[in-house]
């Protein structure tokens, strides 16, 4: 007996798995730095016991490096925790600046490894809507992955949350090679289902090299 696969559920799990793999990689990098720093301290301690001179400045640098890596790993784990909790409530007041910042952190390893620079032009005052944060995060992840194949030579993508009369929008700019055909191909079943679940609308502007994700002010209210 076969069970139908829920496309939106599968896309969510795929997204979560990719982020988990990326984060575990980052944590292992932090552990590797701490491991080498601690190992070096052990090495020089043994040398000092044998009467060799120890460079105290180098030791101070290593201690600082270990503290920095602990902070780095702590930030990574906090971000993972925030992503995990974004599934707690299907309709929650969400600051899009904060959500976009989280996604920049979570996607950083993927984007940097591919040689891309992803930044944000945060809104002041912050744009706050009631939405399903996990679906928005998942869509941002999917759009970023698509956008990396559509940027120009600058290999730079910018996200900008903007308040609108009906809610908010997130602009993804820097997609100089964007074509309508590629954009249509991007809108697979999970993408369209997610856009629908968010009561949102996805648009592309080839001339401006831009994708726009339009979000309602309150997902818990009937669609306008």
């Amino acid at each position: 007996m076969t069970h139908p696969i829920d496309p939106i559920g599968e896309a969510g799990l795929r997204f979560y798995s990719k982020v988990s793999a990326s984060i575990s990689h980052e944590i292992k990098n932090s552990l590797a730095v701490i491991n080498e720093s601690a190992g070096y301290l052990e090495d020089v301690t043994r040398m000092a016991k044998k009467g060799m001179t120890v460079d105290m400045n180098r030791l101070e640098t290593l201690a600082g490096s270990m503290l920095k890596q602990v902070q780095r790993a702590n930030t990574i784990v906090k971000n993972m925790n925030r992503l995990a909790h974004s599934l707690d409530d299907p309709a929650v007041r969400t600051d899009l600046n904060t959500l976009i910042e989280l996604m920049l952190h979570l996607s950083q390893r993927t984007t940097v490894t591919r040689g891309f620079k992803v930044s944000a032009a945060f809104s002041e005052p912050p744009v706050i809507i009631v939405t399903h944060p996990f679906f928005v995060e998942n869509l941002i992840w999917l759009i970023l992955n698509f956008a990396m194949d559509a940027t120009g030579d600058a290999q730079s993508i910018e996200l900008q949350p903007v308040k609108t009369t009906s809610g908010a929008k997130i602009n993804f700019t820097g997609l100089d090679q964007l074509t309508q055909n590629a954009f249509e191909n991007f809108q697979t079943e999970p993408v369209t289902l997610m856009v629908s679940a968010l009561k949102s609308r996805l648009q592309a502007d080839e001339n401006k090299g831009m994708i726009i994700l339009n979000l309602p002010d309150d997902i818990s209210q009937p669609a306008q």
Partner: protein, 121 residues
């Protein structure tokens, strides 16, 4: 024995190179493929330790570049990445494929093994 370590995590690669130097190896380090190529162009190396996942040019791509310049050079991959697919592909290409964080004694044993009787420490 001269080694070149390449990893985009500067603090990691710098400290590991220092620890290997304390154990008798001549170890240079670089944080990108571009700077690694400069080292390769200026000196001879017996073995390179390459991080698999690096921005722009990763370790597997860099290995091909280095092998064109130094045919027969031995390679050990280092990675924090744990996918089965990468492990199998990496293991087939390099002498060894080690996961971070690494044990220095294990690394040295692998370096010596890769270099055969030439290794001195």
């Amino acid at each position: 024995m001269r080694l070149l370590l390449v990893d985009d995590e500067k603090e990691f690669v710098e400290t590991l190179a220092e620890r290997l130097s304390l154990r008798g190896f001549e170890a240079d380090w670089a944080t990108s493929a571009k700077s690694a190529e400069k080292f390769i162009d200026s000196r001879h190396y017996d073995l390179v330790l390459l991080d698999v996942k690096m921005p722009k040019v990763g370790g597997r791509e860099l290995k091909k570049i280095i092998e064109k310049k130094l045919p027969g050079i031995k390679t050990i991959y280092l990675t924090g990445h744990g996918s089965e697919e990468d492990y199998h592909a990496g293991s087939a290409e390099a002498e060894y494929y080690l996961m971070k964080p690494i044990n220095i004694n294990e690394l040295i044993a692998k370096i010596k093994d890769a270099l055969g009787k030439e290794a001195q420490s």
